[in-house]
Amino acid sequence: MIALQNINKTFRVAKRQAGFGNAVKALFSREYEMVHALNDVSFTIRDGEMVGYIGPNGAGKSTTIKIMCGVLNPDNGVCTIDGRIPWKERVAHVREIGVVFGQRSQLWWDVPVIDSFELIRDIYKVDEKLYKQNLDELSALLDLSEILKTPARSLSLGQRMRCEIAASLLHSPKTLFLDEPTIGLDAVSKIAVRQFIKKLNAERGTTVILTTHDMQDIEALTERILLIGKGRILLDGSLAELKKRSSERKTLVVEYSGSMPTMCEGMTLAESREGRLIVALDPAVLPVSDAITKLAAQTELLDVSVSDITAEEMVAALYREYRI
């Protein structure tokens, strides 16, 4: 179980204006700005939960992850993970967690992946039998058997990411932190990684905390979302709940031939191109069937599709709502 209570973290950042003159000035006197990276952050995550941690760049996601991993210590507040305080009992704590920083590799660059894995086995003192079992399982699930003998530097990004994820799971951690695990991956690799994470959570009961900017990750993986902005937790709820909450709006994509229809109450034109309209619709004001009837009366409709708001739009709307 992960519990954070009233965590605050402030960084002191030197600031100066652009330009050479100011650079020289900054050598002698510096102005510092206090940046509140985290502001009274509290949440709990139960064992076996899968949580998506989202927020715009610079919202404090990485800082929170780093605190939970024991890399940073907060200014004040309590953070316990399985009863341990990460930065105080670092060694005991990190033995139980796996961390994937999407943008940073943990594999040794010039040696075959399998050598890196064996070194990690020794670092974590993983029992030989368990290691063998984990390795077999992971290489089957993530399709690694072909690439284990390749040096990490010759792997493609997708292959490397699969190896990274495997590397962080060799010691059977109870909790897995994924910091943008699908960044830069192609569609096939993304799906493979997502499926794997899902399976891991279902079969091993591993707690997964995932930060991402890819809303499809969130949609595919997590039941629960934590939204952070400007260092505060703004929302904590399920994806379905959020969707409901962020209004019932529907999106209508209309293809037509003939004159362009005019909008009426309840419809907002989002995009218009030759023969094609994207309309945002509020069903509380104007039911979908009525809207279609109204449009059909004005022009000849070729195709109409109705969709719910996407996670992407929803998050963008949330960011707007909270002005972050």
Partner: protein
């Protein structure tokens, strides 16, 4: 220790991936310190002696400092390039591994190209040890071994201090090089040649003279006190403040970027 050997083999394998680069760098290291050796040679052939030390005696000094430094650099390289490790986030990775931090930084980097310098030092010893006119009894051999081993450790402690600074600045501090690389360069001659002030500084503040000047006097039979023989061991005390400073830096660590 077993784990350290594992790291050792990984680094060896990595560096052997680039064989040409490895040998050229090692050769370069050899040549660079070879010119330094020539410098000492010409200087000594002109003046015969410096502050009362002959060429052979100076060469003993030279070999000691070069070997001690090269060993420290070969194995303590992780601390030497530590600012880089902080900058690229590799240090965050070390923090989420269940092993002592110093150990992980130590094993994050090993620089085998320094073998070029080690070889050089060995050659110098091959010449200077028989030519110095010292009768190599057990205690003298022990003294020389202490000089080299403790010397590496003192240099290593300097790297540690250097690394600890980068917790605050997130960048290396070049002025520390005066003590590390500078120590190696100036340490070719017994530190007494630089005058009393420098010698005092290198005795009480940064104890480079404790494994170079004082035990050298013992080797040459100019001093016979046991304190001179064991002075390299006193130099090890420097590790304590260095480590304390490192711990202090670590507690103030703030990570970079995402």
């Amino acid at each position: 220790m077993r784990l350290y050997l594992k790291y050792f083999s990984i680094h060896l394998k990595s560096q052997m991936q680039y064989k040409v680069s490895f040998f050229l760098t090692a050769l370069g290291q050899f040549l660079v310190s070879f010119t330094a050796l020539l410098g000492v040679y010409f200087m000594m052939s002109r003046f015969n002696e410096v502050a009362g030390f002959t060429l052979q005696e100076v060469l003993l000094c030279y070999g000691t400092i070069l070997l001690a430094f090269s060993i420290a650099e070969c194995f303590g390289r992780g601390f030497d390039v530590f600012p880089q490790m902080i900058g690229n986030g590799e240090f965050d990775r070390a923090l989420v591994r269940p092993r002592p931090i110093v150990f992980q930084v130590l094993s994050s980097k090993m620089e085998f190209t320094r073998i070029g310098r080690v070889l050089q030092a060995v050659f110098v010893f091959c010449y200077a040890i028989p030519a110095s006119g010292i009768v190599w009894t057990g205690d003298k051999i022990l003294t020389l071994a202490l000089m080299i081993i403790c010397g590496s450790i003192v240099f290593f402690a300097l790297f540690l201090v250097y690394a600890a600074f980068s917790f605050f600045t997130l960048e290396g501090l070049e002025f520390m090089n005066v003590l590390t690389n500078g120590g190696r360069e100036f340490g070719r001659y017994p530190f007494s040649v630089y005058g009393d002030g420098v010698l005092k500084f290198l005795t009480y503040i940064v104890p480079l003279a404790l494994f170079q000047y004082y035990p050298l006097l013992y080797l040459l039979g100019r001093e016979t006190g046991i304190a001179y023989m064991l002075s390299p061991l006193m130099g090890l005390l420097f590790l304590i403040p260095a480590y304390a400073f490192w711990r202090f830096g670590l507690s103030r660590y703030k990570s970079t970027g995402s």
